[in-house]
């Protein structure tokens, strides 16, 4: 067991090193950093000085190690476009994305599990079937179209909710939050629904199919035969046993919520990290792109690792499998 955990952690580090190499080569080979930082009027001496200053005259392996050392300390260089340290920009933008992701994740999990259980128990009911058909359309609908649709309905036609930005925010230390003001909360509604809808349908369909599978099992029949009430059977016996795959998928989806936030943030002009990344791609702002890549891979690899280890500790059968054969 210990061997597996160590092996898994080592693997994660290897992945991060590879991603680091990709980010580093983006820095090094896409566009010339000297060109980007110095203006038109430069002398050969200026170029040489900056080259030594940035350490670009050193051999590649040395540069790579230095890049990694900087990245570990949160130092990703200076944005070509804004002329400020990338880490500073990221810290400013992170709260917006994290709050949006947290609310969407919460919506997706709570509504997704609720609807999943409902559609499984009433599998032939009219409402359940309607929800299932709607969810199929929800899966095919691209995220940005959902966002535009919501904006059109609730901002343009009804005028109830704002269509862009975060509203008023309150500063607590370095963190800015939109949870404490009315306009901040209002601004959060449409983006979080847009972002969470896909994950919600995914979780719902998963919970439903797992529930249907479990409800067929003998122990459910026995629980009913013992005269337990429906609610106890459905929730305590059935739902509990569907949760293992749900946890895995939900965990893995957490990462994609952060990634898909790019799309939602663009639709709603939400001032988060995703919008920053899209603008960085449009203007080929390599340091920001590299930093975002590193940040998101740490997050993804971390989530994957945690999910794997969790899975491993929840399901004892897996332990026997992994250590035994493959």
């Amino acid at each position: 067991m210990l061997a597996y955990i160590i092996q898994r952690i080592a693997q994660s580090f290897l992945v991060l090193l590879v991603v680091g190499a990709v980010a580093f080569s983006m820095f090094r080979f896409v566009g010339d950093p000297i060109d980007n930082m110095l203006g038109q009027e430069r002398t050969q001496a200026d170029i040489e000085r900056l080259r030594t200053q940035l350490g670009l005259d050193q051999p590649f392996p040395v540069q790579y190690v230095k890049f990694l050392a900087g990245a570990v300390q949160g130092n990703f260089g200076v944005s070509y476009r804004q002329g400020r340290p990338v880490s500073q920009i990221l810290v400013e933008r992170a709260p917006a994305t994290l709050e949006l992701a947290a609310v969407s994740g919460f919506l997706a999990i709570s509504i997704g599990i609720g609807l999943g259980v409902f559609t499984a128990i009433r599998r032939d009911g009219f409402t359940a079937n309607a929800i299932m058909s709607l969810s199929l359309i929800g899966v095919s609908l691209p995220t940005f179209l959902i966002g535009i649709l919501l904006i059109y309905l609730f901002s343009v036609e009804l005028g109830w909710l704002p269509s862009f930005g975060r509203g008023d925010t309150v500063r607590i230390g370095w963190w800015t939050t939109g949870f404490l003001t009315e306009s901040g909360l209002k601004a959060l509604i449409l983006p979080s629904i847009t972002l969470g809808l896909y994950q919600m349908t995914l979780i719902m369909r998963l919970v439903r199919s797992e529930m249907l599978e479990v409800l067929r099992q003998d122990y459910i029949r026995f629980a009913r035969a013992r005269g337990l009430r429906d609610r106890a059977v459905n929730f305590r016996h059935a739902l509990k046993n569907t949760l293992v795959p749900v946890i895995t998928v939900t965990g893995l989806q957490l990462g994609s919520i952060i990634a898909f936030a790019i799309i939602t943030e663009t639709v709603f002009q939400w001032p988060g990290v995703g919008l920053l990344f899209i603008n960085a791609i449009q203007f080929v702002d390599i340091p920001v792109m590299a930093a975002y890549l590193m940040l998101i891979s740490v997050m993804f690899v971390g989530i994957n690792l945690i999910v794997d280890l969790l899975y491993f500790s929840i399901d004892p059968r897996l332990r026997a499998d992994r250590t035994g054969g493959h």
């Binding site: 896409v30 095919s140 691209p142 535009i148 790019i262 799309i263 899209i278 890549l293 690899v301």
Partner: protein, 320 residues
């Protein structure tokens, strides 16, 4: 297939049934004809493809010909006449007087072309690497599958964005708009090869131990020949399913990237670019510039998705 064997002296059938009628009567076509969802979605998809191919013949205007544009026609609502010729703009015009119906037809062309080319690219790459990994094994397999694992950790759309960004940084500024379509194809294709590689590798591992492969090896066929001529045809059916689903995903991915402004440029607008342009006019009340491209994209994505779903069930022997 009939279970009762024909008696030896039975008269030969009048003539051999043609391959077309054989195909028409196959199990596959039988399930197709029996499924209304499949028939409808296939018809819709086929109509869209035909409309895209024959766009220059169908479209009343050429949206890329500045001579046919006139600002006097800007923001015409649907079903209003052209101020000069009196022809009707069925779906209205945009701010520059471009006929929305024509731009959609040309936009579908680009969306479908990018989607299909990206899937083709992903398929060729995935099949090649999957066959190599499965058949050769050893270090080749380890490296290919590790790369696949790492890439699978990240959502495809993110990978595509990064590749697009890097490619944009490498290409000189004056070529960026021209190259954008090809960069998109490569970016989406590279973000999507893993699925193909994994499935092909899995199927190859099963096939390579079968007797026909051993026989082929015994008669001295070379490894590339065995992989391409013997194993490949036997692993193609799951590839077909993934390709259909990938096509829907690739079309949506392309639309998303173009919508975000990191895809098809306004000089070669795809459906996503049109939606991006139309979003700007949502608040001033010109809803048609946004709505019609959006509906087209939705219908296109939905029909391919449903077709893929049906294909998966139809080709899955366990569900028969």
């Amino acid at each position: 297939m009939t279970d009762t064997p024909l008696p030896q002296d039975a008269p030969l059938p009048e003539k051999d049934p043609s391959r077309l009628s054989l195909w028409w009567q196959s199990d596959f076509m039988y399930t197709f004809k029996r499924s209304p969802v499949a028939v409808v979605s296939f018809t819709v998809f086929a109509l869209i493809v035909l409309a895209a191919i024959f766009a220059p013949l169908i479209a009343p205007y050429n949206p890329f010909d500045p001579g046919s544009l006139n600002l006097m026609n800007g923001f015409s609502a649907p079903m209003t006449p052209n101020a000069f010729t009196g022809e009707t703009f069925w779906l209205g015009t945009d701010d520059q007087g471009r006929d929305v119906f024509s731009t959609i037809l040309y936009g579908m062309r680009i969306s479908l072309f990018v989607g299909a080319a990206a899937v083709l690219f992903a398929m060729v790459l995935g099949i090649t690497l999957g066959l190599l990994a499965g058949y050769v094994g050893g270090w080749t397999e380890t490296i290919i599958m590790r790369v696949a694992d790492v890439q699978l950790t990240f959502p495809a759309i993110l990978v595509a964005m990064l590749i697009f960004g890097v490619a944009k940084g490498i290409t000189p500024v004056e070529y960026r708009d021209q190259m954008a379509i090809w960069v998109l194809i490569i970016a989406i294709g590279l973000s999507d090869w893993v699925q193909f590689a994994r499935v092909v590798r899995g199927a190859t591992l099963v096939e390579k131990n079968k007797e026909y492969v051993q026989a082929a090896r015994l008669i001295g066929r070379t490894s590339p020949a065995i992989m391409l001529r013997h194993i490949l045809p036997n692993v193609l059916s799951p590839v077909l399913v993934i390709a259909t689903i990938s096509l829907a995903l690739a079309i949506i991915a392309e639309a998303t990237l173009s919508f975000l402004g990191v895809g098809a440029p306004p000089t070669q607008p795809s459906l996503g670019t049109l939606i991006r342009i139309g979003q700007g006019f949502l608040f001033s009340g010109e809803w048609w510039i946004l709505l019609f491209p959006a509906v087209t994209l939705l219908v296109l994505a939905l029909s391919v998705n449903l077709l893929g779903d049906w294909l998966r069930d139809a080709l899955n022997p366990r569900l028969r």
